[in-house]
């Protein structure tokens, strides 16, 4: 390579890079927004709790016990969160593989979201590990538990973070004005996308496969050998509902950032996304139904756990599915958003059911997360939103790429 990738020549420019970064690290706009006022105290308490967790042990902050060893951090931040990050692989598939160009304007923000989500869920995982300093054992060294589902999931997690970083990197290059790097990185996109989708199908289903060996510990209405496939299919509408929901918020918060062209196309986008959600939910329900028939659990329906199951399936899958169908027919954005929110709640319910609520439902002592676990869970999400906001207001994510980058990619 003859010229440096970042278009700044050494010495003199070194300083300006530094100044540029310092400048970009400073907050922009008003400080005392309601979001800041609420989130900052929570984050501070959360960080203090994390310190306690490492100085006193897991038991000091968490209610997990010997029978239910995975609590909120694993069940909510990891297992549930990854489902919501599924929007990234679905959208990259639609945009880069099927080349449906109209989704192009939201693919970047979704990938950014996915990338941050994975990064922070990996963080939640580290908090939850008893011996986090041994986390590199399955990655380097010779301690390969190759027959472990968790081993595959961990590796795919890691590789997918890299793939998403590559998918997002052109935006970073545009922010830094690095043209050569931009060209190089854009060229890697397709490869990263294909690799990323493959990894996603595997770890989305892998998260379900984690529970395959807990066969008699999970209530029979939730345990079946098809958990991996059900997890994969539900990650499609989980991810897209998150895209719809997140879009409705960022549209308000980052109003100025979204170009007018993109703003107009939003409505038709939401409509198409609603359709995809509706159809994938239909497939999911049909599969759940087949699995249920296959399991012959009719008698279990008339128990408290059975009502709980029906609530999840009807209230949080069937109803939002119908809403999505109706919303796309009427092209009502509001209805789509309502459906998306119900779907999101339904996914939270489903993942928590498999990993926590229906897990050892028969145990003498039930697990209820402590307030400290809840605060730490929220802290992780809040920090993620902070970083998301920082990136959005600096890099060309929601708005159009700079002219030079657009030209280059044509």
């Amino acid at each position: 390579m003859t010229s440096p990738i970042i278009p700044l020549t050494k010495t003199a420019k070194d300083q300006s890079t530094w100044r540029f970064l310092m400048n970009e690290l400073k907050p922009r706009g008003k400080w005392l927004t309601p979001f800041n006022l609420i989130s900052i105290p929570i984050i501070l308490v959360g960080l203090a709790l994390i310190v306690i967790r490492f100085t006193e042990g897991l038991g000091a902050v968490s209610n997990i016990n010997q029978e239910i060893p995975w609590g909120l951090w694993k069940g909510f931040n990891v297992v549930t969160g990854v489902a919501f990050a599924g929007g990234a692989y679905v959208l990259t598939f639609i945009v880069y593989i099927l080349k449906v160009d109209k989704f192009h304007s939201i693919v970047r923000v979704t990938v950014l979201n996915g990338f941050l989500a994975y990064l922070f869920y990996a963080g939640a995982l580290v908090l939850d590990l008893g011996k986090p300093w041994n986390i590199f054992n399955p990655i380097i060294g010779n301690n390969f538990g190759a027959s472990s589902v968790l081993f595959l999931v961990a590796w795919h997690f890691l590789l997918y973070i890299v793939a998403q970083l590559i998918e997002f990197s052109p935006a970073v290059a545009e922010w830094l004005g690095a043209r050569r790097a931009h060209k190089l990185l854009s060229g890697l996109t397709l490869g990263a996308v294909i690799f990323g989708i493959t990894l996603s199908t595997l770890h989305q289903s892998g998260l379900g496969a984690l529970f395959l060996m807990a066969s008699q510990k999970i209530h029979p209405l939730w345990y079946n050998e098809f958990i991996p496939i059900l997890f994969l299919v539900s990650s499609v509408f989980a991810g897209l509902s998150m895209v719809i929901f997140e879009g409705s918020i960022s549209q308000r918060v980052f109003f100025r950032k979204i170009s007018s062209k993109n703003r107009e196309s939003r409505n038709s986008l939401v409509q198409s996304l609603s359709k995809i959600c509706a159809f994938s939910m239909f497939a999911y329900l049909a599969m759940q139904f087949l699995v249920f028939i296959h399991g012959q659990h009719w008698d279990l329906l008339n128990t408290p756990m059975g009502y709980w199951f029906l609530l999840e399936m009807i209230g949080f899958v069937l109803v939002p599915m119908a809403l999505f169908f109706y919303a796309s027919r009427k092209s009502s954005i509001l209805l789509s958003r309502v459906a998306a929110i119900i779907t999101i709640l339904g996914i939270i319910l489903n993942r928590l059911n498999v990993s926590i609520i229906a897990f050892r439902w028969d145990a003498a002592v039930h697990y209820v997360p402590s307030w400290m676990e809840v605060v730490v869970s929220i802290t992780i999400i809040l920090i993620q939103i902070w970083i998301f906001r920082w990136v959005i207001s600096r890099m060309p994510v929601l708005d159009e790429s700079p002219k030079w980058a657009q030209k280059a990619s044509h």
Partner: protein, 288 residues
Amino acid sequence: MTIDRRKFFKSIAITGMTIIGVNASGAPKAKSEDEETEFYGILYDSSICIGCQACEKACAKAHGLPEPTDKPEVGVVRKTSENQRCVLNSYETSQGEVYVRNQCMHCNEPACAAACLTQAMYKTKEGPVIWREDKCMGCRYCMISCPFDVPKFEYGSTNPKIQKCDMCYDRIIKGEKPVCVETCGDALFFGTRRELVAEARRRIAEIPELYIDSIYGERVAGGTGYLYLAPVAPGELGFDTRIQPSSYPALTKGFLYSVPSVFILVPTLLLGIHEATKSRKTKDENHD
């Protein structure tokens, strides 16, 4: 960490293959290949056990754990914990009061070892399933997976251990018996699994009034290293009757085996669709 170069490259090659799942096998190498590597195990005879807790105390002493203070009592289920690797329980059954001992079953195909992503939980070729501190990262997936709820985690510690019976592996490789067997009179019997089964059958045949005609552990969860003789069915002795008779790691085999094919099929398919849509769009606008 010092790894020499060859080992390092070897591990890279293994990683590459394992990521795409080529090495994936549903179960860690748990087959007893021939007589020489036959698994050791322990036969527990609850018809003989008098619930004296000598084994509990010896176990606690040998592993630096606090001496148990509570006694087995009908109606109270004592559980193994981070402070106790084995416990005795007492049940009122159709045949009167019966004691039963609970600890790691040392499964032939252990779910815990199949679950462990660092091979910290490990089925040794001698039979005991051991836990290796330097490898464990404390994810507790072994606890999720073990059908007998055996591994216990030290939640109160900043450098937590997983506590569970290791059949006194360090003694076994020195040719000694586990401390519990050494302490107990007749209720615990140490030997290769084959010897244990033969011994159990002999006892059943000799005094049929004392036993039901089945050995718990012979088949449950794919067979365990710990075998139980009892006067009543396992359900009466607090064992979870829903534990399946076949191997637990086999439950994940289907998923693990499908990984390599997904790695071949999905990218090919995606590339194919990509090419197909490209030619359809000819040369007009084409982002990225």
